[in-house]
Each structure stands twice: as C-alpha cells, then as structure tokens.
C-alpha cells in the first residue's frame, strides 16, 4: 500500500525585489514595479518523485532552503504545487506547535477547543480527549485561566499537546523535538513511537540527525530542491556530513568598518574526532577536537579565542575558550592554530551552530577582532542524556560497614 506519492512535483516561489528607498518615494515607479513585476523565480522543488509505503517512517534532511519544509507544506495542503501531482491516501495531520494561534484572553479550555477544531477535530472528539490533553501538557490546575497568564513553557506545551492527540493515518513532524523540557520531549518521543507502532506513516523533517536516525526507516537528503541521496539513515547522514564538510565553511561578520584589515582573522574552524578525522558529527560523550586557524597581521597581547555552540533557536549552550585555563595568549604575526581538546563532548543530541571569535581580554563581549559563523555540527545519541547535557561521571558500589541498630526512640530523646 502506498500512502503518499509525489509525481514529478515542482514548486516555484516568486521572490520579489524590494525597490530602493528613492524609487519607492515615486508613486508611478512603485505602481509600475508592482504591476510589471520585478521578481525572480525560485524553484524550491524540482521534479521530485517518490512513494512512501504504509507504516514507513521517512526522514528528510538537508540544509536550510533545500526544500524540506516545502515538501511538508505541499503535503499538508498549505500551498499547492506548481507542477506535478501529489496523492495522499489517508487522514493526514501535522504534529506542530500551534500555540501561536492561541487567543490570550480565552482560557486554556477554550483555546483547546479552538485549536483542536482548527486541526480538524470535532467538538465531541475534543471533549473526550480534553483531560488527556491537559494532563499531557501538565496544565491541569490552570485550565480555566486565560492563557495570557500562562508561562511561555505552559503555552507551548498546551499547543503541542493538542496536536499530539490527533490520531492520523499519516503524521507530519517538523522539528518537533524542540519544544519544552526534557521530560516533555520524552513524552513526545513516546507519543511518536506509539503512533509508529500503530502503523502510522511518518514524515519527519529535522536538523536533529540523532532523532532522524532514531525514528526513521529511510532518509532523503535534499539539495537544491531535489532528492540528492536516499537510503538507510546511517548512509544518508554520512553523505550529508560529507556534503557539509566540503562546503565553504562560514560567512564572515562582525567586522563593521569594511575595508580595514583586522589585526587577526579566523580563517577556519574545524572539528576532528578521536581518530583525527575531520567530521561534523559527534556522539554525546565522544572525544572531540576543535581547531581554530588564525592569520595574524600584527602582534596582539592577551587575546581570547572562543568557540560557541548555539542551538537552532539561538541559545548559547556551551563554549570553548582560551580564557578558562592555561597562560595568557599572545599572538605573533603569521599563521597559527588553536586546538581545543574535549575529552567528552557533553552536548545533547541536536544540531548546533558554531561561531568563533577572537577578542582582547579587556574588551567587551561584543568587540571582536574577528567573528565568524562556521558550519554547524550535529550531535547524535551517544552517552545517554536526560536533561540538557551529559555530566562526565564514574560510579562505584561501596558497601557500608554493619551498624548497630538504633532505637528510633533514642533519636527522639536526644532531640528533646
């Protein structure tokens, strides 16, 4: 049984050019611009064909702009294809966070009804599932409170819990594992597994390669709107890794006075595994080395070199710094490499954006000599992480010497 079929599907977007400030003052020019059109066609998908059999979990990976979300939008009927045909066999639902559709003045209960019916549930179905939804979100005590009084976490969890209670034949997942704390995430993963076991077909789009590997039977790697590789998760993920490492690794930013050569420049940031092989994929707890290559124009005293790990949502999760240990770092003109050694990389399974900076110790945090965005790295499941990071630790069993049994009353007496 084929649940989903893409038959030579293409999707074109029109990218409009903004008029420059001077021309947009002129009404006639603006009208002409609007009517004649000043756009480029951008093909988000080009002639994509595939089939998904019933019960398969298909992962879709690729860089931003490769066409991942476009596939989801087409499947979910949010936008129509420009060419080709899509066949869907079954009731389709997306496990997405819909809290942005909440009305702040309405209570949690009212919002559950509103968003549940937006997602296609009828009122009877929602009434039946209401307790379970509220329980899943952990907001039982506040269900009759207007959601504007909710914390942002409660807000998101409730929005997500509604979607998690859909009972579809085909489930679309888009970066779902980004909502809530670890406990809530594990509830979500449990729910996904529950649906999988029930034979639900799953389409999972994510940057989280660890999650993709865990959930999916087959993975597509998209590139420039086409299926670049397809196959077993491990193979496709390693192809993706290969693709990433062979791309120009960063874009420069932070140098505001264009033209002036900074005193020192970061020329590359690269990660190596324990076998000294260059990679962008590490398992939690694995040894990792980061090398920051520099070109120094003039001697600089007492600098700090730092590598930052940002989550997909822009939160700083960790950093490597020459500030923490070791001597004062002075740089002499020429090329050099700073090597950071992490015996156990503690980050949870997710993808991280890498940024690197070089600055003087006494300067403020935002005054960099050079600041670069490097290619991201992906952390896959290794040592188990319950929480946000892995704490390196060992353990042993220590037998206690036999103790005299103490009379509990004696303790009370002394307390007197």
């Amino acid at each position: 049984m084929i649940d989903l079929k893409f038959d030579s599907v293409s999707k074109k977007y029109r990218v409009y050019h903004e008029l420059d400030a001077e021309s947009s003052e002129n009404l006639l020019l603006r009208l002409r611009h609007k009517l004649r059109g000043n756009w480029n066609d951008f093909w988000a998908l080009r002639d994509v064909s595939f089939e998904v059999p019933r019960g398969e979990a298909l992962g879709i990976i690729g860089q931003n702009g490769a066409g991942k979300s476009t596939i989801l939008k087409l499947l979910y009927n949010i936008t129509a294809p420009s060419k080709g045909r899509i066949s869907i066999n079954g009731r389709l639902a997306a496990l997405i966070e819909v809290a942005s559709g909440f009305h702040p003045d309405l209570t949690g209960r009212e919002n559950v009804y509103l968003n549940g019916s937006l997602l296609g549930m009828n009122r009877r179905e929602i009434s039946r599932k209401l307790d379970s939804i509220v329980d899943f979100a952990g907001v039982s005590a506040f269900i009759d409170t207007p959601v504007k009084r909710y914390s942002s976490g409660m807000y998101l969890r409730l929005g997500f819990a509604i979607a998690a209670h859909l009972d579809p034949d085909i489930l679309l997942l888009d970066e779902v594992l980004a909502v809530g704390d670890a406990e809530f995430q594990s509830k979500c993963i449990q729910r996904i597994n529950q649906l999988r076991k029930a034979g639900t077909t799953i389409i999972f789009v994510s940057h989280n390669l660890g999650a993709i590997e865990n959930i999916c039977d087959r993975v597509f790697l998209l590139r420039d709107g086409q299926i670049f590789r397809s196959g077993k998760p491990r193979y496709v993920i390693s192809e993706y890794e290969h693709l990433l490492t062979n791309m120009p690794a960063w874009s420069s930013s932070g140098v505001k006075d264009g033209g002036v050569q900074p005193a020192a420049q970061i020329t590359s940031v690269a990660f190596f595994n324990s076998q000294r092989r260059r990679t962008t994929i590490f398992a939690t707890g694995e040894e990792a080395r980061a090398e920051v290559e520099l070109v120094v124009q003039e001697p600089i005293e007492d600098v700090l070199i730092e590598v930052y790990f940002y989550s997909a949502f822009g939160n700083l999760h960790s950093h490597l710094s020459t500030e923490v240990e070791g001597n004062k770092l002075n740089l002499a003109p020429g090329r050099s490499v700073v090597e950071f050694i992490c015996p156990e990389i503690p980050l949870e399974a997710a993808s991280f954006k890498i940024e690197a900076s070089i600055r003087r110790r006494e300067s403020s945090f935002n005054e960099h000599i050079d600041y670069k965005h490097a290619a991201g790295i992906n952390i896959i499941k290794g040592k188990s992480v319950h929480g946000v990071f892995h704490t390196p630790h060992t353990w042993r069993l220590r037998p206690l010497p036999l103790e005299k049994t103490e009379d509990p009353d004696a303790v009370v007496k002394t307390a007197d």
Binding site: Y13, R14, K73, L74, Y76, N77, I78, T79, A80, P81, S82, K83, G84, R85, I86, S87, I88, N89, G90, R91, A94, I96, V98, S100, G101, H103, D105, L106, E110, Y113, L114, S117, L118, L119, G120, M121, N122, R123, E125, R128, K129, S132, D135, F136, A164, H165, D167, D169, S186, K187, Q190, R191, Q194
Partner: protein
C-alpha cells in the same frame, strides 16, 4: 511514564475509511464545487467554534459586553436622526425618522461590519494560514456569522421600538428571513472577493472603509428610495443593497409584502456573485500561504 501515553478509546472506530486525496497545481477547471462544499461541511464544528470565539473575544473584558451590538446602530441612528430629521428634514415615508433609520441600519451594519472584518480575516490570521490546513473560507465566514449574531441582538431592540412607536406586526415580517439570507449571501460574496484579494494587495484593507462609507450613502438607509429621482432609479437599482435594505424596511415597518422585482434582482446578483467569488477564493487559496 504510563501516565503520559495517550489512549484513544474508540477513536479508530469513528474514522472509517481512509480518505484519498490528490493535490494538483491550481486551475479554475480543477475546482470541484461539490468536493469543496463537502469538506466545508466536515469542518462545521470549526465554523461554529470560530464564530463563538469572535463573539466571546469581542465582549470579553468589556464592561458593556453584548450591549455594544445595540449601541452602534443606536448611536448611528441618533446622529442620522439629528442631521436628517432636525436639520435636513429628510422624508421618511410617514414613519418616525428614528425607527425609519434604525430599521435600515440593522441589515446595513450587518453587511458593513461583516465585510470589513471578513476582509482582514486572512491577513490577520496569517499564523493559521501558514501553519495549519483547513478550508480558508471559514475565516471570513466566521466573521459574517458573528456579525449575524450582533444583528440578531440589535433586532430585539427593533421590537422594542416597534412597540413604542405603535408599528403593527404583520405576518409579512416573515419576509425578513429570505431577505436576511440574501444579504448574507451578498456579504459572503463580497468578503470572499475582498479577503482573497487583500492577501496579495494590502490596498484593499485601506480602501474598504472608504468603499463602505460611499456605499452607505448610495443605499437607501438614511433616505427612502422614493427620494431618488426617477431618471436615476434604474441605474441606482443596480446596487444589490438597494433591494435588500428597502425591502427589509418595508416588510418590517409598513407590513406589506416586499417589492419582488428588486428583491429577486438582489437575490440573483448575490447568488451569482457568491458562486463566482467562491471559485475565485478557492483558486487563490491554493497559493495564499505564499503571499500572506
């Protein structure tokens, strides 16, 4: 952890056969009116919930609450009575000017408030349109339903006015029902047209209040149809709101049957426009999320 797993007792049972759907590039010939209406019927709970939501949100945290539904036509009535009865001496076909104006203001406000809110409905719900699939026409529809609710509330006061001014109630009042159906169709038609267009051209949102203002004076709300010079009448009657408003006032206040020619004309225009604008709406729905 067992507490967090979700049990759906009997949910599989209610699902029935798996629906099969096919998505193709948008084309006018590809729009199946029947399929779309069936789908809309499946989403009737959403229409209901959203409409209730509109009403709730509007009156929540307001002191006067649902009284606002009455205050708007009343204040307009007072203003018009002052200007057109005390200052301009507008004829009102032998009726007290206040009730003459108020009666016409009810269907007019229904139309005007419904259309102006519905026009913005897609743009103001961009977060729904770009994230979740549901038949998009539900958004404008919900605003028309909410406006219908306000209309019903304001009608209660009309009853009070009729008692106060000793206007006799006749069986012909029932003609108001088909007239409301016609004005609803017309309001929906205009809303589909304007809301779908506004997604691409935001000028529509700015133009609508102006349009409605001009339209109000091109419709016999503050003056009777008989005040329009005979030679302009044919041209004037092309406005479907003329047949609607004039007939509504006639059946409510004079107790006579509606003037069938103008009402049928309004009905024909409204239905034809509704079908046309619905097709146009569905055609632009396919790529709405790319523009909104």
């Amino acid at each position: 952890m067992s507490a967090s797993s979700i049990n759906h007792e009997g949910s599989k049972r209610e699902r029935g056969a798996r629906p099969v759907s096919e998505i193709r590039p948008p084309s006018l010939l590809g729009i199946n009116l029947f399929t779309n209406l069936t789908k809309l019927a499946q989403y009737r709970d959403l229409i209901w919930t959203l409409s209730i939501h509109r009403i709730k949100v509007r009156y929540k945290q307001s002191v006067l609450g649902v009284l606002w539904a009455v205050l708007q036509p009343i204040s307009m009535m007072l203003i018009f009575t002052f200007i057109f009865s005390f200052i301009a001496r507008m004829p009102s076909e032998g009726l007290p000017y206040a009730i003459f104006a108020y009666t016409a203001l009810l269907p007019w406000n229904y139309f005007s408030n419904g259309v102006s809110n519905a026009t913005n409905s897609l743009v103001s719900h961009a977060q729904f349109v770009t994230k979740v699939y549901f038949p998009r026409e539900i958004l404008p529809i919900s605003y028309i339903v909410a406006a219908l609710f306000d209309f019903s509330v304001a009608c209660i006061l009309l009853g009070g006015f009729m008692v106060y001014y000793h206007v006799p109630l006749t069986i012909n009042v029932l003609y108001a029902i088909p007239i409301i159906v016609v004005v609803s169709c017309f309001a929906l038609a205009i809303s589909f047209l304007l809301s779908a267009t506004q997604v691409r051209f935001r000028d529509v949102g700015v133009a609508v209040p102006l349009l409605l203002q001009v339209w109000l004076f091109a419709t016999p709300v503050v003056y009777p149809l008989s005040a329009v010079p005979e030679r302009w009448r044919t041209f004037y009657l092309l406005n479907p709101m003329v047949g609607i408003i004039e007939n509504f006032r006639q059946v409510m206040l004079t107790g006579s049957a509606p003037e069938s020619r103008s009402l049928l004309f309004s009905a024909a225009i409204s239905v034809a426009l509704l079908v046309g604008s619905y097709l146009y709406f569905k055609l632009s729905e396919a790529t709405m999320a790319d523009y909104v």
